[in-house]
Amino acid sequence: MSTAPDTSVLTTGPSADERAARAPWALTAPALMLFVGILVIPLAMTVMLSFHDWGQYKGIEPVFILKNWHEIATDPYYAEMFWRTFRVALLATLITAVFGAPEAYILNRMSGPWKSFFLLVILGPLLISVVARTLGWALLFGGNNGLVNKFLMSLGLIGSPLPFMFTETGMVVALAHVMMPFMVLSVWAALQRLDPQIENAALSLGASSFTIIRRIVLPQIMPGVLSGAIIVFSLSASAFATPAIIGGRRLKVAATLAYDEFLNTLNWPLGAAVAVLLLVALVLIVVGSNALIERRYAEVFR
């Protein structure tokens, strides 16, 4: 008698397997539904929207035409605007890498209380709105009334205000500033994985500090720098607030253009096309470079 349940458990093995196979789906269902509901469906609708027609007086017409895509592909205005978007994002990424990686390294070498203090200084800005941080730059460099411009002009060092507002340089600098914490955090995480004795090991073999950084530390934190770069690049390319404040209506990037089409011109289909193109380009760039990085470092970092 007592053995009967045991054998039944054994013979019902396959159904237990089936149940085990269903469990992951059942468990992820709530999150999956949320994901589909708030991301996939609106995204699909945006893609659909980009194929609709629009006219000043007729509004949106739910038809399937390639008008918007044709316009983006042929009008050099859009090409220039997309190039600007990625150029600005790339330069901002380079700046964060060049300054953020050494910053993280120095931070990591600091001792106890200083380390936590400066970590707070670096990460603190994340708690402040991007708008506030970008407005800071505008206050310092904005035209004749900018604090720095006023000061430098009163000293006679410059004759006219430094061009910052409505320039690509201004946009790059402000974006690099806003994105810096992400790069520092990413490199910091890579540094945490470093064996604390590894620099001593290189030192005992006769390496100079410069050699240690170049040949031992840098190659090991490179994946951190690159993943930080991917984060910063995609956030910069799709950033809205900073380009909107620095570039305004004069110097548009993809995100601000899409915004204008949606809310000012009310040409939603064209705005949708710009947004979709930005998304597709970003996904391609991020997935592509991620694959490259993984292939390059597969042997070493598994």
Partner: protein, 347 residues
């Protein structure tokens, strides 16, 4: 003149003295072990020799020249870290080659020496492996090859075998000792494994709380421990309280019902310290009862309750009948096998 000399070296971290009054003279080609419990300052001592920490007091000399003024990169020492600290982005050969590159050894010569060093540690054919794809023992050997290939004047090993399983550790110990003998490299090994220290070293430095307890050959420190700490730390030991009986002539040393002629120059209460494997069961001696009897393959381990407290006895499994649990026995030993301590210190 000794090869490497530490002269009353001390290290303080803030108010805490971690190493104090550490004096040691190491001969050329000698294998020394620093042995002590966790946190007693072994690593700190090694790091001061390596130059990663500056001593607060005292001097470290190599062939008579002051080492403390020399930067770590210029000391020419070989170090194997507890974590190995291999460069994970370099292959085994590149790891080993790094020190030679820093010394500007010509390329042809370099690859020759790298190959020889890897072969020496039994890793021929592993040149192009990355550390992450090697076992713990293999990584450890790469670390050893990397330290040895630059022909260091002194080899410093910080618990290099502690991450390995027992069998591999034993193999590596034998290998390490052979390599060290063949090359004649002066070696300092940090360990908290007393068996490792005893089986590898020419001399052992037993440390406790930053101070040297005893320096001596493995046999000396094991058989003539100068303090209760050393005898407890190196293997198992039995301590019995004993007194000198001056009413008898000549005077006798008495522990319970065990007694022997008292050695000269000892007075007052003493502690008799005797290793478990030196105690025999006999007709006379300390009265005891066997509490448990444990079979351990090549020997038997007895836990006894004697008239002077608990004791352990180890007997070879030589086929002779052994007393059973609960049996009353008498424990005896030869006076020359024990060490005596008065309250003040060693005999």
């Amino acid at each position: 003149m000794s090869f490497l000399e530490l002269d009353r070296v001390a290290k303080q971290f803030g108010p805490q003295t971690v190493v104090d009054d550490f004096s040691l003279a190491v001969g050329k080609g000698e294998f020394i072990s620093l042995l002590g419990p966790s946190g007693c300052g072994k690593t700190t001592t090694l790091q001061m020799i390596a130059g990663f920490l500056d001593p607060s007091r005292g001097a470290i000399r190599l062939e008579g020249r002051d080492l403390t003024a020399v930067r770590p990169a210029k000391r020419g020492l070989g170090i194997v870290f507890q974590s190995y600290a291999l460069f994970p982005h370099m292959t085994a050969a590149e790891n080993v080659s790094f020190g030679l590159e820093m010394r500007r050894v010509p390329k042809a010569n370099r690859s020759e020496r790298v190959r020889a060093a890897l072969a020496m540690v039994g890793l021929a054919g592993f040149e192009d492996r990355y550390p992450r794809r090697m076992s713990g023992g293999q990584q450890q050997r790469v670390a050893l090859a990397r330290a040895l290939v630059v022909r260091p004047s002194v080899l410093l090993l910080d618990e290099p075998l502690s991450n390995l399983d027992a069998k591999l550790r034993e193999e590596m110990q034998i290998e390490l000792r052979q390599i060290q003998r063949n090359l004649g490299t002066t070696t300092i090994l940090v360990t908290h494994d007393q068996i490792e220290a005893m089986s590898l070293s020419d001399r052992i430095v037993v440390m406790s709380q930053g101070r040297i307890e005893q320096i001596g050959t493995p046999q000396e420190t094991y058989e003539r421990p100068v303090s209760a700490f050393v005898s407890q730390f190196l293997g198992k030991t039995n301590d019995f309280a004993a007194t000198i009986d001056r009413t008898a002539a000549p005077a006798r040393l008495v522990a319970g019902s065990w007694s022997a002629p008292a050695p000269a120059g000892i007075a007052g209460p003493v502690t008799v310290s005797i290793r478990p494997e030196r105690i025999g069961f006999g007709d006379t001696g300390l009265a005891a009862k066997i509490v448990t009897r444990i079979f351990q393959g090549n020997h038997w381990l007895f836990q006894c309750e004697t008239e002077s407290g608990p004791a352990i006895v180890i007997r070879q499994n030589d086929g002779q009948p052994q007393p059973a649990e609960g049996e009353a026995v008498r424990l005896g030993w030869r006076p020359e096998d024990m060490s005596l301590r008065t309250a003040g210190g060693a005999k």
